[in-house]
């Protein structure tokens, strides 16, 4: 146990595809289903960054089905990185991203790196969205990625970029 560990949080609305993204990235899940009572699941993945082995503990926090239900913010505490996952078919995509960012930074330090994953791009390959205003308001966001768990598009790249930043 002499490798470094980092805690990564995935948050996003209900059914945006967080679990599928993790399933694509990780070969070893603690449980594939959410522990429905406590609304989260944890997976781990070892990755090699610059000859250094890093153990990622990925906390997949169940999205609220409706906006009234509260997501347990204590799970987000002490994270080293966060991926905000949004569904490209969502009508309020920008508002969703901002509300998750605010949730996360209300319990974490401002300098924790974040990534925006615009998921399900396989269903509409021509989709683009301008979220430059969000990126400029939240300087800790490293980048946005158009991702697809189905086609394995940008999943590995996204986690690698975040890991590199977390090791800095």
């Amino acid at each position: 146990m002499s490798k470094k560990q980092k805690k990564v949080i995935l948050i996003g609305n209900f059914s945006v595809g967080k679990t599928s993204l993790i399933r694509r990235f990780v070969e070893n899940s603690f449980s594939d289903e959410y522990i429905s009572t406590i609304g989260m699941k944890i997976s781990k993945k070892e990755i090699k960054i610059n000859d250094e082995i890093l153990l990622l503990l990925i906390w997949d926090i169940e999205g609220a089905v409706d906006k009234v239900k509260r997501v347990n913010k204590t799970y987000m505490r002490g994270a080293n990185g966060v991926i905000i996952v949004a569904d490209i078919f969502s009508s309020d995509i920008k508002d969703d991203i901002i509300s998750h960012l605010d949730d996360f930074y209300s319990v974490n330090k401002d300098n924790i790196p974040a990534i925006i994953a615009l998921n399900k791009i396989d269903k509409n390959r021509d989709f683009t969205i301008n979220i430059e205003d969000i990126l400029s308001n939240y300087p800790m966001i490293l980048d946005k990625f158009y991702t697809s768990a189905k086609d394995s598009l940008n999943v590995e790249e996204m986690f690698k970029l975040l890991s590199k930043e977390m090791l800095k």
């Binding site: 490798k3 805690k7 406590i38 781990k44 503990l57 799970y75 505490r77 002490g78």
Partner: protein
């Protein structure tokens, strides 16, 4: 002929032929347009009509046509994908209807589940018993160990069966694994395991445990702010959670944890926090930032100390038995000595327990332990009074007492209610103004002034009797009688100089007994009209009032009244006219606002 036929045809079916021609024309028109969609549109309205008519008139037939397709579709949907649309739609319906059914038909659900649950439970219990029996057999086979001899002696002396003692031993807590976890992130700082039996994925265990812990704490914090999860039990094992600073310890144990062990875990974490708090607080997953070896050496003590109590797996082969017999005297003596020590400890502890029991003091979280010839008791009582009483009754016993008391106690509230009632009755009966005050949990102060000593004695006796277990401090003064009066000349309300001393005295007394008012009553002799006399007695009372105010008495502490008659104690009003022209003084209870 042809003409006739044509005539006849026209007569008979001319209308039908016209209609037919019309239809043919329309169909041709549609065909000519080559517009299938128009045709479909025309027909589709018809089909809908036909279907709805048929559903209405012959539902059974429609059902038998559609039924096989629905079933087939459902089957495919359910087998092909575990996360089908149908499951998504049905899942909430099923769970809510199950909830409803459990709520409304609890008994029939229990009946249905009982055979399955019953089997599961009995299987679990059987397994647990099997494991325990293996352990017990193991100990019985180990017939010649020092532990066994000790057990046999103990069994004879305490008159407890050997089997019971073995069962007790089987249940001794044993630390299996220790995890030191960063509290905020849930990341594992380090983990150690008994006999280096490492477990798979300790980081995942740490994270999951933290998630469960924060879930429970988050839930509890909405209900009870003081609590935090401290133990998770599973089967015969438990995870003891001890939090401090930025980290927490999760200690996985077999068997029942006792007070001693709990304390040791807490002390161990305190030691780690004291020496390594900065590194732990800043831990961000990099193991090189932690002084691992030092922390492990502290944590390892949790394995070692407990091992002393745990009977080891010593199997004595024949050779060892001979050697043992050779040195038999030594272990017997040693066992005798250690038994004697244990006996003394248990005797002492039980005598302390009986003393406490005799005095009927209820102690919460009571713990008693003896370490190196010193006996310690810990716990909590309701009141300071109970605490003092406990210290008093244990003052002659050699014991280190560490008893705290709850600040707020229902007993205190009870006393307040009692005293309120008693004093309310008393004050209204004797026009007195006695108050109480409770200090700490066993000191009651009764304070005030009262008209006469009979009433005072009554009150002190009554309260002393009711609250005999408490420390009561009475500070009750009897009010001095205000017998002296100020006498006036005929028709005069002027105060003579000789009364200055009396007025000074009254003003002094009023300041001392400031919970009472001074009542001034003006009187006159029997001569003169009643209007004149009323004015005169009022003037006399007011002059005295002013004189007292000048001497520093608060005007709110003075009540004046006046009568156009002599005082009642004047026996011969016609002769004692000089004594009638006066002002008298009395004490009167202040009305409570």
């Amino acid at each position: 002929m042809d003409k006739d036929f044509e005539k006849l045809r026209k007569l008979l079916v001319n209308k039908e032929i016209e209609q037919l021609d019309n239809i043919i024309l329309r169909v041709q028109k549609i065909e000519n347009h080559h517009k299938k969609d128009i045709l479909i549109e025309h027909l589709s309205t018809l089909i809908t009509e036909i279907l709805s008519k048929n559903i209405k008139n012959n539902p059974q037939q429609i059902y038998s046509i559609v039924h096989p397709f629905v079933i087939k579709g459902l089957k495919e949907e359910l087998t092909n994908s575990s996360n089908s649309e149908i499951s998504k739609v049905l899942a909430p319906l099923i769970s809510s209807s199950m909830k409803e059914q459990v709520h409304e038909q609890k008994d029939s659900i229990v009946d249905a589940l009982y055979p399955i649950m019953g089997n599961m439970i009995s299987k679990y219990v059987t397994n647990a018993f099997k494991e325990m029996m293996v352990d017990v057999n193991h100990k019985l086979q180990d017939t010649l160990s020092s532990q066994t001899i000790k057990r046999k002696i103990k069994s004879k002396i305490y008159n407890i069966s050997e089997a019971e003692l073995i069962l007790k031993e089987s249940n001794i807590a044993k630390v299996k694994s220790i995890f030191l976890i960063h509290k905020e992130s849930g990341m594992l700082i380090l983990d150690i395991h008994r006999d280096n039996n490492e477990i798979d994925e300790p980081e995942m265990v740490a994270s999951m445990l933290s998630a469960i812990k924060s879930f429970i704490n988050d839930w509890i914090s909405n209900h009870d702010k003081m609590s935090e999860v401290s133990e998770i039990e599973y089967g015969n094992s438990s995870i003891i959670i001890e939090s401090a600073g930025s980290s927490y310890l999760a200690v996985v144990m077999d068997g029942k944890i006792d007070f001693k062990m709990q304390e040791q875990i807490s002390l161990t974490l305190t030691k780690i926090v004291l020496n390594h708090s900065a590194q732990i607080a800043n831990y961000d997953g990099d193991p090189d930032t932690i002084e691992k070896e030092k922390i492990i050496s502290i944590l390892s003590t949790l394995f070692i100390t407990k091992d002393k109590d745990i009977p080891t797996d010593n199997k004595f082969p024949i050779l060892s038995t001979i050697i043992l017999l050779f040195f038999l005297l030594t272990p017997i003596l040693w066992n005798g000595y250690s038994y004697y020590q244990e006996y003394l400890i248990e005797k002492k502890e039980s005598s302390i327990l009986s003393i406490i029991k005799k005095d009927k003091i209820k102690i919460y979280d009571f713990k008693i332990k003896t370490l190196k010839n010193t006996t310690y008791i810990d716990g909590m009582v309701l009141t300071k009074f109970d605490k003092n009483r406990l210290y008093k009754i244990l003052s002659n016993v050699d014991v280190v007492t560490n008893i705290s008391y709850v600040d707020y106690s229902p007993i205190n509230k009870y006393i307040q209610l009692q005293l309120n009632k008693i004093l309310l009755d008393f004050n209204s009966k004797y026009s007195s103004n006695i108050e109480y005050n409770i200090s700490g949990d066993n000191d009651i102060y009764i304070k005030g002034a009262i008209i006469n000593s009979v009433a005072k004695d009554k009150l002190t006796q009554y309260i002393s009797k009711i609250f005999k277990d408490y420390n009561i401090n009475f500070d009750i003064n009897i009010l001095p009688k205000l017998k002296e009066r100020i006498y006036f000349d005929i028709s005069s309300s002027e105060i003579k100089e000789k009364y200055n001393k009396l007025l000074d005295n009254i003003s002094r007394l009023s300041n001392i007994h400031n919970s009472y008012n001074i009542k001034i009553t003006g009187y006159t002799d029997i001569l003169g009209s009643s209007i004149f006399n009323t004015n005169l007695s009022s003037k006399r009372a007011n002059t005295v009032k002013d004189a007292l105010i000048k001497r520093g008495i608060n005007k709110n502490s003075i009540i004046i009244t006046n009568l156009a008659t002599p005082p009642k104690d004047i026996s011969d009003v016609s002769k004692e006219r000089e004594l009638s022209r006066c002002v008298g003084f009395n004490w009167e209870m202040k009305s409570s606002e």
